[in-house]
């Protein structure tokens, strides 16, 4: 399928789903419009499909005897690679990163997980700006070009949704891929300006203890952030992995709060207000609070605790006897990963895994442990430790300490059971 026809089909499908949902709501003019647009898009997509894309060239017996393809404007993945986010077509939803298909630590920008509450807005950078006001000496407006003239920095950090792992905290279905287990975390090289520099330009008044960050999407998402974060490591970013940030990640501007839960890294950033108190927005009260066992709920639980997950071998792989790299990712919102242990006997013994490359603070860290499978059933586990000495707990620990009903910040040890026939299944009961 060509790029264009694939996109049109997708738009048709999304429109059709949206239209179907909204068509049941006759009071909504937008719904009827949606249905019409969907019908049009579907017809267009059908016409395109009828015009069938040219067949892919056959795979040569000997590629050394045939000229290859010419240069292209934008490269594509090899036709043998099928790394895709899933599910697709959601407007208030999420799409997960295919962790099982990735190597190293950087998430390709077009596979970075998505989470948004009203779709991805289309923002013209020439018209976008960032306002800073409230408890400041000089309320200011910066254009995107203004912001790019400040001294810039490039930092590698993960962004993880604090809802990552909710599904498998509740439901331990063995037929679960690592994409669904933990695919709401991604790691990028971000380029931007320290938020501190922008705040200094506006002049922070002494009473300012919090700031509100507002996104320019269709819910005007708002989060309150303690001011200390601005003077620690917060950034306003526009670059991701060597190019302008993707629309799904906040183009043209995003707040990047290293180690803080994804939702607080406000995308499509348009306004920062400094104040004395938090604003208690819907996203820090109704959502993103953590009910606990003692009839309380944790509020402003920003930091991501240390966590790791094996990304290979995982469901639905089937392995054979012999040597295998047990490989995965570890990360912590409190600093560097100092140790990852792997167990190949369901926790009876643990081995220090090799950590590949420098472990960066608040970034995905790749680990590998070489393992010789002898053909008998076993379970593989991984356990991360960060530089504060925090050790990744088991699921039983979390249920005992926070409760089975807790709703964010899931970081239990995850397992993968290898059956005698080599089939690998998710093992969540740790």
């Amino acid at each position: 399928m060509t790029e264009i026809s694939r996109r049109d089909l997708l738009a048709g499908a999304v429109g059709a789903v949206g239209g179907a949902v909204l068509a049941g709501l006759p009071s909504l003019a937008a719904g009827q419009q949606g249905a019409k647009t969907a019908a049009k898009a579907a017809a267009k997509a059908a016409a395109k499909a009828a015009a069938a894309p040219p067949p892919l060239p056959p795979i040569p017996d000997d590629a050394t005897k045939l000229l290859g393809t010419p240069t292209t404007a934008v490269g594509e993945r090899s036709r043998f690679v099928n790394a895709v986010r899933t599910p697709i077509g959601q407007v208030t939803g999420v799409s997960y990163t295919p962790l099982q298909d990735l190597t190293g630590t950087i998430t390709p920008s077009d596979l970075h997980f998505e989470r948004h509450h009203a779709g991805v807005p289309l923002l013209d950078p020439a018209r976008h700006s960032l306002m800073i006001h409230g408890l400041v000496d000089r309320p200011m407006i910066f254009s995107v070009d203004d912001i790019k003239r400040f001294p810039q920095v490039t930092r590698t950090h993960f962004v993880e949704c604090s809802g990552n792992g909710r599904g498998v905290y509740r439901d331990l279905k063995p037929e679960t891929t690592v994409q669904i287990v933990a695919g709401m975390t991604s790691n990028s090289e971000w380029t931007g300006v320290p938020l501190k520099a922008l705040f200094e330009e506006a002049g922070v008044k002494s009473g300012a203890k919090w700031f509100l960050a507002e996104g320019g999407d269709a819910v005007l998402l708002t989060r309150s952030i303690p001011i200390e974060k601005a003077f620690d490591d917060a950034l306003v970013v526009w670059g991701q992995n060597g190019e302008p940030m993707r629309p799904e990640q906040g183009y043209p501007l995003r707040l990047l709060l290293p180690g803080f839960e994804g939702n607080s890294n406000v995308k499509w950033l348009r306004r920062l207000e400094l104040g004395a108190q938090p604003w208690m927005t819907r996203w820090e009260t109704s959502k993103y609070t953590d009910p606990l066992l003692d009839g309380k709920a944790r509020i402003f639980s920003f930091e991501i605790d240390a966590k790791s997950v094996i990304t290979s071998p995982t469901y639905p792989a089937q392995i054979t006897k012999g040597w295998w790299p047990v490989s995965g990712l570890a990360w912590s919102g409190r600093g560097k990963i100092t140790r990852v242990e792997v167990s190949t006997d369901n926790g009876k013994s643990w081995h220090d895994a090799a950590i590949d490359g420098p472990a960066l603070r608040k970034a995905h860290t790749r680990f590998t442990h070489m393992w010789e499978w002898n053909g008998s059933e076993t379970t593989l586990l991984s356990r991360a430790t960060d530089e504060t000495g925090y050790v990744q707990p088991t699921r039983a620990d979390l249920i005992r300490i926070r409760g089975a009903g807790t709703d964010y910040h899931f970081n239990p040890i995850y397992g993968w059971t290898v059956k005698a026939d080599g089939h690998v299944f998710f093992h969540g009961e740790t």
Partner: protein, 207 residues
């Protein structure tokens, strides 16, 4: 202001920081965060421009828990019920019971949901009545984000009416109430004291 200087700094950076301290001329803010040994000094770049009062007022619509920024206007529970039927019930259901998972319940005082049992049972629905700590959040969120397909389309009177209706339907205020800035500011939510600041700090303790 410096950031939280946890045990985060790389050894190398720590050495550089110590060296700089010895020289004792540079005050380095935020060395916990970045490798700031060669960071730009703090200065103003005279970039950007002043924001006008009009520009600020246009975007400054957020309402915090003290309600200081609530606009003029008012609305009754009765008018809110009418608006809810016309503009909200298609997604949230005629009684606000929701159509999960896509459309959340926004009304509900199920006895099972009283006394904040959510840590033990995730199946009990959290709603404005049994969970939300601040009434002002209802006003702020509905005004900025609802109806989902037409955000920003409600007048302030409509938002006051809908807030009154949602609070009454959640058994927070009487059915004959009228809400304006002063009365909304005075509403106290039943479970506000259940929300506690995060006590996780890393280290050996799992909390």
């Amino acid at each position: 202001m410096t950031g939280d200087r946890g045990p985060r700094t790389e050894d190398r950076e720590r050495l550089v920081a110590i060296a700089l301290l010895v020289v004792a001329t540079v005050s380095l803010a935020a060395c916990s965060g970045d490798s700031s040994a060669n960071a730009e000094p703090s200065r103003r770049y005279a970039l950007g421009r002043a924001a006008t009062t009009d520009e600020i007022d246009k975007w400054h619509t957020d309402v915090g828990p003290d309600g200081a920024e609530l606009p003029a206007g008012s609305g009754t529970v009765a008018s809110g019920a009418e608006i809810f039927k016309a503009k909200c019930s298609a997604c949230h259901g005629p009684d606000g019971q929701g159509m999960p998972p896509a459309y959340p319940a926004i009304v509900g005082r199920d006895p099972k949901g009283e006394n904040f049992p959510f840590g033990t049972d995730w199946k009990i629905t959290r709603t404005i009545g049994n969970y939300w700590p601040y009434a002002t959040t209802v006003f702020d969120y509905v005004r900025r984000a609802m109806p989902h397909t037409a955000p920003g389309s409600l007048t302030n009177d409509e938002v006051y009416s809908l807030t009154a209706f949602l609070l009454a339907a959640n058994q927070i205020i009487p059915m004959n109430s009228t809400l304006d800035a002063a009365s909304l500011r005075a509403v106290k939510m039943p479970y506000v004291s259940r929300f506690v600041r995060d006590d996780r700090r890393g280290g050996r303790d799992v909390r």
